[in-house]
């Protein structure tokens, strides 16, 4: 803003502040900068507090599946695996359900029903994760052992994914609980995005002779695709970092196994569980490094997500032109 002229520059800072504009600009700038500052501080802390294991293990930390505080051997693989698997299961379940529900609420349901349901969805989104954890522990875990496991194991037991035994807790249970937690996010954001699709888009499609569903599925949903993707990434971020609900139902056993019924562990859960009683610098710092790994995983997945949006929106517009 140097080019704004000497008359501005010569006015005292105080008088410029007094007009309000400059004041608002400064204050909001500080607020915006704090986001960057906090991110930098988090990374800096995680980095400086994980010097020992980074030097001792190097990249082995990422590919080792040994987590043995007795022998001072630490590897992140079982936790990375658990975090990714539970999040993937959660999204596989939550995305179709969430988007389906959002389409119904935005396009097909009468406004009164849509608004009422939206109220409940917002309520669900505000439920603390420990409640979902309890629900998972008291309802999903027994259900898993008595119903879901026998059914899946009988029908699909030949796949390594569904081999037994089941203790009720494990990757699949954690994935289901996470799915329950993230569905409200997907519905809520996707519904808003679908509702904001311009009316003329729908009318144009209907005028060309498409049915209600065709206009929804072929015009409205592709138009809102970027926003819907956004809702999925929000859900993914929540699933990756969820601690309490996961640790209550995942079984807390650091293992890399194909079976979804097997107990496992996630990064956030092990940090929460072991940080308080960890003795020895290498142990504590390895937990910090796990935090760093989780941060990087979130960062990379977010980057990939953005890339995906760019690619698909380009392809989307190409289809639209053709």
């Amino acid at each position: 803003m140097k080019g704004a002229g000497p008359s501005v520059g010569s006015r005292s800072l105080l008088s410029r502040l007094a007009t309000g504009d400059e004041f608002a600009r400064l204050v909001t700038l500080i607020f915006a900068a704090s986001v960057v500052l906090i991110t930098v501080m988090v990374v800096w802390q995680l980095w400086t507090n994980s010097v020992l294991p980074r030097h001792k293990f190097g990249l082995r930390f990422l590919i080792s599946d040994v987590w043995d505080p007795l022998a001072d051997q630490f590897g992140a693989l079982p936790f990375m695996y658990g975090t990714l698997v539970t999040s993937a299961v959660a999204l596989l379940l939550a995305v179709p359900l969430g988007i389906g529900a959002a389409i119904f609420l935005a396009e097909l349901a009468p406004p009164r029903i849509s608004d009422t349901l939206q109220f409940f969805i917002d309520l669900l989104a505000a439920v603390p994760s420990v409640i979902y954890g309890l629900l998972g522990f008291l309802v999903v875990v027994p259900l898993m052992r008595t119903v879901i496991f026998p059914v899946l194991n009988k029908s699909l037991g030949f796949l390594p994914l569904f081999k037994g035994p089941s203790y009720g807790v494990g990757f699949l249970t954690a994935g289901i609980v996470l799915a329950m937690m993230v569905i409200p996010y997907i519905i809520s954001v996707s519904r808003e995005v679908l509702l904001s699709v311009p009316r003329d888009q729908r009318e144009a499609a209907l005028a060309l002779g498409s049915t209600r569903w065709e206009s929804t599925w072929k015009v409205v949903v592709p138009f809102a695709r970027t926003g819907i993707m956004g809702s999925i990434f929000l859900a993914l971020a929540r699933a990756l970092g969820e601690t309490m609900a996961v640790t209550m139902v995942i079984g807390n056993t650091p293992k890399v196994v194909a079976s979804l019924f097997s107990p496992g562990y996630s990064i956030a859960a092990v940090i929460a569980n072991e940080f308080t009683e960890a003795t020895g610098d290498l142990y504590v710092q390895s937990l910090f490094e796990l935090g760093l790994v989780l941060f990087l995983m979130t960062f990379i997945l977010n980057g990939l997500a953005r890339l995906l949006i760019i690619v698909t929106t380009q392809r989307g517009s190409g289809v639209g032109n053709a």
Binding site: P263, F275, T279
Partner: protein, 339 residues
Amino acid sequence: MKRVASLVVAVLVLGTLLYAQNPLTVTGAGASFPYPIYSKWFDEFHAKNANVQFNYQSVGSGAGIKQVTEGTVDFGASDMPMTDELIKAFQDKRGTGILHFPAVLGAAVPTYNIPGVTATLNFTPEALVGIYLGKITKWNDAAIASANKGVTLPANDIVVVHRSDGSGTTFIWTDYLSKVSSEWKNKGGSINWPVGLGGKGSEGVTGLIKSTPNSIGYVELIYAVQNNVPFGAVKNAAGTFVKADLASVSAAAAAAAKDMPADFRVSITNAAGAKAYPISSFTWLLIPQKWQDAGKREAVKKFLYWMLADGQKDTEALSYAKLPKEVADKEKKAVDSIQ
């Protein structure tokens, strides 16, 4: 503007002065297992000594040791004694020693869920170690069955449950396992579990056991008593099967009192004595030897004297076993050495 600024300064100064009139605050952090009794003690002590306030955060033993070493709190608390390594780190950082004061006693008990079995099971050390090492995998294994004549045990696989979060209960449990078996290894709060599911907290372990047939786990005695969790008896060093209660836990401490080392860093698991419950432990307050602040030092000393005398009367109402008199008397002498 100037007037506003001077007003702000005046308020700040006045506020600081007023704050200084408030009671002296001594801060501590550490073990969560003794938190209920500590908070009762600190409340009661404050009621008797209005000028002193204790502020205790139950952040876990490891974090408590870390915080007192860093000097961010005045004292620490831990369910396991500090290792020589940790004591040296404290010495290097703070230029003074750290003293251990046993405060109360705790115990870990085996709890299980076997469909069709309602009797109280007896566990030998060999059976518990075998189960937790993953070597005994069936309930009708001879090591378990031989101690439970007359009970029909099923031929089902044992589902082993342990705590996933670090805890004093786990420390007591594994300290015992390492004492009765050369095969079991652990170091402080660090364990590499050979088998089993991890449950978060006592409620997580209990919940898993209740919902999983043929499972076994361990919880602290207080939790088991207050929540009516059934638990088994364990064979002690004298060869008697003992069920944990306040008397048998105190008996374990009394057995150890005779050879109590001067620094009180002693494990009383597998204690001698026919009545002693073998999976018992002290929980310690960690107090720096030298204090810069004379006011805080006197407050802490006064509290320790009170805790070792009148304070012990509060323990049993909260299901903690109290210190044997010999131990408390010995500790009083150690309090004198705080400078």
